[in-house]
Symmetry: D2
Subunit: 347 residues, 4 copies
């Protein structure tokens, strides 16, 4: 790709998710961060002085001296990655879309809007069909495309190949990393040597977002299954692990399911998008895998790993799934969405 | 109780579970440790020099100078608590019963024997009725009584009050403490900042032991439900937490279930046994409880705590349960079994 | 003690240290919590509804329905335990002393005031002699007595018996628990599987408070030694561990030092104060002790434990010391101070 | 380097350090693993089936099908990296040297042999001068070159630039990662939420190896300073952190020392060796760095990071140092030693 890179902006550039966008875009072959937006408190400062950098990878040189802008729609590049928290995203993202920006959002604000794609490119690339109606109905020259919650994306990705067998019900119990709660996030006194069996709003998101993602007509017809979620926080830094029991209507054999998972490919793999993991789903054979410390970074953090597929005496099958919550479950998801849109001529 | 205390022995006294027996019996009003058995390597040593003490509570003075015996049936007191590992328990426990000892065992060896009670005094005290037939059939002057696996006891106790509503199916996903694996047990490299989604043999135990415990005719007729378990190890020292989805046939309201749990009492509570927790089940109201670090020691480690009872869209209800795995799930369980037998004139 | 208990108040009753005061006073033989003070936000609420209880021991029944007062001097009982943060303590504690209260403070605000005792009853009980001059000079009918910072109290207690041998220099490196930072305190993302080699202001406190405590003339003449501190945060819940190298002028043998530590007693031990640990210093023989998880609760959390005493090739000796930072290093310290004052007729 | 790569072997290929050698050599520009040695138990198996792979980076394809050999001297390539444990290394390494192999050893067995270089290429490259005498005196056609213990290499590297100012005394207190103890290593029950203030033999190694490394005449004349070490285990996966107090004879200013550290370069940097970190020492400006989770991987795990340089009131200066114990402190160290020897024509 000898063409010039596409300049992109980051809304909410100084927070944890913003930092992850910047870090993952640092050597991206198609995109280049040219604009940083944050709260007014940071306006005019260099990024270096405005952002309390918390990633182990060092701050990319290219952004250190960029100056931080207020998040005012209309300024900056057309393509905006949104790392805004939900409170800010509620109004700002629509304003940016109205001002002509393509907003690739990691916030929850618009995920369940029937006209906004809740996109996992391997799973429901065709949901981008909503954009025409979104523009017409909202009157936006731009657009909003969202990615799922960090636990939903693991579940929905692991379930996607099982649609072959018609999914009836799903019971999932998560063990989620603390990085999912941002910074400062979970106090150490709450989680060191402990389990917190509750994450506010998380179960509802998993139970509804999953069905929109797997659904048809751009997600407006939810997938006809029922999901029940238990969400828990455990003392892990990165990587959401979950146990999943599922009832599959066509009662496939274990090998059929493994084959469906192993060969699962979507448009990112077909198009060879720059950050597409291949395989999309890593099926592990060891009896005690996947594990977050060993496997969260598979596929450069973009692969979902599954293991321990076996019969469930209550539903029909059960297994373990894992994904990297701040890569595949946040910044990396939005970036892959942007790559798909670029490949499809939608940027 | 001005009577003299009953002398008891510990089989496998130097290991972790043996230490917990000794620690919990140190100030017991009815029982007094007068005999310690271990492998031949320790024979003749003082307990102090033979046991690598690993509990934070100091070694009780009364056992420091006791000398350690080989585990030879016939010697020592009638009542023996067994902290043997399964390999040793397989043959030794039956030999002790054959020699006239009452063996209260924490090992898995005889749990599923149809003539051996798998006892939780609050749940199935009537299973002690097996002892007559056990003696007759095995020709033992003594007896073996077992307590469940450390994760099973939490699940079975939490399910016990739900029998009122007829349980059809159960899906449980555990987050288990490392102390459940003994010492040295889980290597720190495997579990620091990690989740291991597999514990060998544990799922099978939960799926079968639970139904024997809740069953009738001394457990020989398993409870007619189906249990599916996912078992996981997390970086917690003490306390097994689990999420439970359950299908209840009579479709009770949330309040009916809470009432059943809160008022659940068994013979230990009625008899006021020395280490019986009261209430047997602590129902927590906070949205993020129970948690192992805060709640595992409720009822001096003998209570089961539950919380977050709510509707399950796939089965009928779901909740979180927690118990202390090395107290209620090991030594404390055997001791409560012995208290019940003493109160019932069976020692 | 059949006398009526002395009613006491808690300034800053809803925070973590306030909760620890309440928990530790719940069954105190001499004192009874009758008054709770907090910020205006909590005024008029019951304690139960005002305090986000975070201890594993449940909230004592006696305080659940007590209503919370604003911290206005003059109201409430004469004896006030202060769990205020430094910002509030700066002005409020002096106002309470001026209004006639005896303030037993855990805050840093007045620790280095030359007229305020920085008290460890085992170490410098005689520093209470400052109170006469404090009253005269400040014009307070009441008084302020402080206890040291949670890391200083461990170091100063371990050094106290070494004054026999004349201490010249001390180099200490700490590994401190997260509970020392209060709640929410240290974010889990900062400390899970990590070490943070910096705690703001902590090294300065250890280097100066220690010398005041060990000093003469009420601490106005600092002990003539030099202390150098490295302070680090580690992923431990409770218990500050520290390695200490020390130069002792009289070059005693290892056994002389061990004897001095083992036999170290102060007025709390002589008077048999209710919460005085006995021994004050637990000398451990195992090569790998003390350890926070096993030993922080020695002496009901009030003992200091030391181990690994050996020659230091650079200074003269080195060892490991440990204490419970939220008990001996906070609420427990103030309570022992109050017990000493009560025994000395100073309340 | 279009030349053919040099084939190398790994002694002890199936253990943790052996795996790290294999992982780090997978894409090495000069070396290629062509031979794997392990205990007789593994002989004849493929590496894939013989090695319980425990690194998060997957097993390199190139070694999966290599068959494992017994460690018999004479067979295999000339250059052997030794990941043997000390018991095996005691005799085997000398046998391999006697059979003509160049053994680059991570074991402690020969480190203090006066004829064996204890090499850190940045610090004492000239110690390779021992090889001539080693060959002559031992009668070996091959040679043994060792790298230091994982905590020593951090300390010695951080001290190396301070030789400019003449080091008199050093007091170091470590906070070491569990990976330093190999697998299974430290039981999780010992270290979760805990500190273990003792690591067998570690303090002696730091106190002696450091002076040999910094010494002259190939290390036969130890550096004329005194080192006192406190070594502690903390719940960290990778990265040994240590606090260091040092007495420098020429009493330099802080800026002089920082300059000496920042500009510290050795032959690896001058020669541009493939895995040489540049800078060799990363001086961090933030007040709370270095931290193992954020900084252990600096320089691809080969850099030493230091921070918090300030005056020490007892000695003259103090600071924090950090290095990756399984990379710079083990396999990576041996590999850099081999690169230096290759560049110097010694392979």
């Amino acid at each position: 790709m000898a063409e010039r890179k596409i300049g992109v902006g980051i809304l909410g550039a100084t927070g944890m998710v913003g930092q992850q966008f910047i870090s993952r875009l640092a050597r991206h072959p198609w995109f280049e961060v040219t604009w940083l937006g944050a709260s007014e408190r940071s306006e005019g400062k260099t990024y270096e002085s405005a952002a309390p950098w918390r990633l182990s990878a060092p701050m990319p040189e290219a952004v250190r001296r960029l100056s931080v802008n207020a998040c005012v729609p209309g300024g900056g590049p057309k393509v905006m990655f949104s790392a805004l928290d939900a409170a800010a995203a509620d109004t700002l993202e629509a304003q940016f879309a109205a001002a002509g920006h393509i907003v690739l959002s990691n916030a929850r604000s618009h995920r369940m809007d029937p006209l906004v794609p809740l996109l996992i490119p391997e799973v429901n690339a065709e949901h981008l069909c909503l954009l025409g109606e979104q523009r017409k109905s909202k009157g936006w020259p731009g657009a909003i495309v969202t990615n799922p919650n960090c636990s939903t994306i693991v579940l929905a990705s692991a379930l996607a190949p099982l649609r072959l067998f018609t999914i009836r019900t799903v019971i999932v119990s998560t063990m989620q990393a603390v990085s999912g709660a941002g910074y400062p996030g979970v106090p150490s006194l709450d989680i060191l040597g402990n389990v917190v069996p509750f994450i506010g709003g998380e179960e509802e998101k998993m139970e509804t977002e999953t069905l929109k993602i797997l659904g048809s007509n751009g997600g407006r017809v939810p997938y006809p299954a029922v999901v029940s979620a238990h969400t828990n926080r455990v003392p892990v830094i990165d990587g959401h692990t979950m146990t999943v029991s599922v009832a599959l209507d066509s009662k496939p054999g274990i090998d059929d399911i493994l084959e469906a998972m192993r060969t699962f490919r979507g448009r990112p793999q077909e198009l060879g998008l720059p950050t597409a993991p291949d395989p999309a789903i890593v099926v592990m054979n060891e009896s005690n895998r996947p594990q977050p410390r060993l496997d969260a970074l598979l596929g450069d953090g973009m692969a979902i790993s599954v293991g321990r597929l076996r019969a469930c005496p209550v539903l029909t099958h059960k297994f373990v799934a894992l994904g990297h919550n701040t890569i595949r479950g946040a910044a990396g998801a939005s970036i892959l969405n942007a790559e798909l849109m670029k490949a499809d001529g939608l940027l």
